[in-house]
């Protein structure tokens, strides 16, 4: 039983971490300007974090 738990932790832990990282990477901000250009700010970029926080509060 202890082995099974250790195996689950060993395999499931990293998988859970990677899944969470992948989800976080999907968080982003798209800014569209009047000249037709677009800027994407990825999660982790300092400019994006503030906008993501405000957006999260809005939800």
């Amino acid at each position: 039983m202890r082995r099974l738990f250790a195996l689950l932790l060993f395999v499931g832990g990293p998988l859970l971490y990677l899944a969470r990282r992948r989800e976080e990477r999907r968080e982003r901000v798209h800014l569209y300007y009047d000249d037709g250009s677009m800027v994407t700010l990825e999660h982790g970029a300092p400019e994006a974090d503030r906008l993501l926080a405000v957006g999260r509060a809005a939800l």
Binding site: R26, E27, V29, H30, L51, V54, G55, R56, A58
Partner: protein
């Protein structure tokens, strides 16, 4: 069409939009799909904060921000602004962004094309001495 009617059309057309608020440049809520009062004002306030924070970005120098999307795990927040009105909407996660932007712009366009309400004339009753 007034703001309430435009929002009603929006929520009927777009199944992805969960909540939407139309507000003016001062942040005054013109119409909202949320309950009257605080929730609509809070969403409009967040949209103004988003626009202000986005305009601070160096990328925007010399350009005007017209719309933005904040994509989160829980859902997305969209803001589209016209000359004197803006609309903010929240959706579920992974929305079809292009479609949501199109619906929001259609809503703002419907508001812009609506004829201004005729001003009420003040009528004064003539006083009769009799």
């Amino acid at each position: 069409m007034d703001a309430v009617g435009a929002l009603a059309d929006l929520t009927e057309i777009s199944s992805q939009v969960e909540a939407a608020v139309v507000f003016d440049e001062d942040g005054t809520v013109l119409a909202s799909t949320l309950d009257d009062g605080a929730p609509g004002e809070r969403l409009a306030g967040a949209a103004i904060d988003l626009l202000a924070a986005a305009e601070e970005q160096s990328y925007g120098v010399g350009r005007t921000l017209t719309q933005l999307e904040v994509a989160l795990r829980e859902g997305s927040v969209f803001v589209v602004r016209d000359q004197d009105r803006s609309i903010v909407a929240t959706t579920r996660a992974d929305p079809t962004s292009g479609l949501v932007f199109y619906d929001l712009k259609t809503c703002l366009r419907a508001l812009a094309e609506s004829p201004a309400k005729p001003k009420r004339r003040r009528t004064t009753k003539e006083r009769s001495d009799a």
